[in-house]
Symmetry: C2
Amino acid sequence: MGALRSEQQTAYDGLVASGLALDLTRGKPAPEQLDLSNALLTLPGVDGLGAVAGPDVRNYGGLQGLRELREIFGPLLRVPVDQLVAAGNASLTLMHDLLVQCLLHGTVGSERPWSQEPRVRFLCPAPGYDRHFAVCEQLGIEMVPVPMREDGPDTAAVAALVAEDPSVKGMWLVPTYANPTGSVVTEEVARALAEMPTAAPDFRIIWDNAYAVHHLTDVETPTADVLGLCAAAGNADRAFVVASTSKITFAGAGVCFFGGSAANVAWWLRQLAFQSIGPDKVNQLRHVLFLRDADGVRALMAAHRALIAPKFAIVAEVLEARLGPLKAASWTDPAGGYFVSLDVLDGTAARVVSLAKGAGIAMTPAGSAFPYRDDPDDRNIRIAPTFPSEADVRAAMEGLSTCVLLAAAEHLLA
Amino acid sequence: MGALRSEQQTAYDGLVASGLALDLTRGKPAPEQLDLSNALLTLPGVDGLGAVAGPDVRNYGGLQGLRELREIFGPLLRVPVDQLVAAGNASLTLMHDLLVQCLLHGTVGSERPWSQEPRVRFLCPAPGYDRHFAVCEQLGIEMVPVPMREDGPDTAAVAALVAEDPSVKGMWLVPTYANPTGSVVTEEVARALAEMPTAAPDFRIIWDNAYAVHHLTDVETPTADVLGLCAAAGNADRAFVVASTSKITFAGAGVCFFGGSAANVAWWLRQLAFQSIGPDKVNQLRHVLFLRDADGVRALMAAHRALIAPKFAIVAEVLEARLGPLKAASWTDPAGGYFVSLDVLDGTAARVVSLAKGAGIAMTPAGSAFPYRDDPDDRNIRIAPTFPSEADVRAAMEGLSTCVLLAAAEHLLA
């Protein structure tokens, strides 16, 4: 073991000396992916103004967003067009607003505004999306972690918590190709979540379908029909569906969506009317003209896949080659989405990230994928390989593997 | 008088029979005004991507908005570029969020979140902007009307209220060409507002400069330098400056701005980071390429003026011809902005709007320009003449005048 440690230390010293400056932190599209949507940069054109029905897209109004755009995304998101809202450029803004409205006013079925409850708690499948957790923390919503499995959250743990505790008002969930594990909520798990009795009459699942069409293989894994399942279970208002085109067209200049029961949509539009006279319909029109229909979206996503699947393959290849022999390490092999979730030797994740930083490789801070940044086992590291070039992904993963091995050697010899 | 009433009734019956369908309700740009910015419909183009410094505008990031756009609007809004944020498509969204953040977290200088105060009150110069008042009502902020004069709010009334009552946390103000009166806050009034002692340590003026560059005459009335005045008075954090391009470029697809002290800007960006990874920078780039500089904005506004000043002239002409003889009616002759404020015989505004509706002329509901829609004299009517054609403005104003006269005759004979 001493030799192993010394060997890894030598490898790490070489890594530091090589002077890398690499970044695997955020799930950002690469420039080549953004190029795929450059047609948006000259759309809609004056002629394009006539392509949609209804009032002038350049003027105020149209709070629900362009119907033509909702018709493209409704089927992909499994939300009836009338129950879908097309809004601004960020689903994060939308999710934040949904919670703010619940806090200030309550939602459909609420007995009072959530802010007037003694406390408000949210279930957080973990590992999960750090920005979800940050919104809760900022809004004073207590987070309760529940285990995230390959088929979605641990439904037994969830059911037990929601059945007993009326302060549990909701849960976060990325149903398809979850951030960071790549988990896909199965029909069975979705049905269990739709059917489970909840102590809170206004319990909400924030069904953040950020990666609904972001397949990395030939298999187009469908997302469960959460609205249909909730309605069938007599809990029609349970799910808030959220999505965006941030990783379909332009990350900073796309369109986001909200879907729900007719009552939830009417509720949110009522709140929205106080803060908006309508979304950027010109940008929505751009998306209508560029994407055309659901098949247009699928073709675009296939082009994304061609660019990023090789990067995920490099991640898998390097991890297998370098960490395969290390029994303590495991990682996901996602069929879609933007991340690989790496579990290193328990108690070493923070050290790995620190070592990586010292070697010029920026990683998301250890623990980021957990509520309050608290990974109880200190083992999870999120890898976001889409933005760097293939060469940089390879160099970063080689370097990261060196850090994992050195941290493991340090830990086992400590 | 009986003859007058009978004459007006006959005129009104003729109006109803003519089957109008006209709308003077909202301050919306006309299609011809929107056409002025149609270059935006094909911008930025792929070549335009290189026109600004910094990270890829298509990707995430850049929470403060494009510096190049802030450089255009900073001087026009009298806000230092570093203290200006360029955000999404709606200043209403921004103002709503500012108040939500104050309620949930408090702002710079707050002793606690506003929602934890026993009560929160806002001063509302009236007549004023109905959507400001709706935000307060929705958020449970009590509204206290103060008189709006030609030179801005009644500073004696304002100073007395803010000096004594720590629950008065802020006030609304449209400083230039106010909605609906066209009032312009003078330097003197602005200084008084900047200097006055306030019981609340975190009193805020929401300085909604929606019509900063929207001149209807040759005179480019400057807006007072509220941030400078507040800083000079030792109340640097007192003003939240807000503006947008909604009535410069596209009403539904423009860019909005927030300006304030360095501390206020840092505060808001901290809150914003939980709900956005950045604004639509592609749309901001479009605006940079289209507007180019402050003179580009001025040239565009001159073209707007050429289209809408004739409509305001028609309003003045018809009101003078039809209501000039009626001593009880008076109206504004704004030097800018989007509205004419008409005061009819006390006690008849609601009747006038009702009569107009019966004749197919849609007006904003009487009282809309007052907190809680309560016009204590029932005399104010807001006229928004920009959207309809000149012929429609004339027909609507003739019809409205008939309604004013009939309502007056009814009232005086009742």
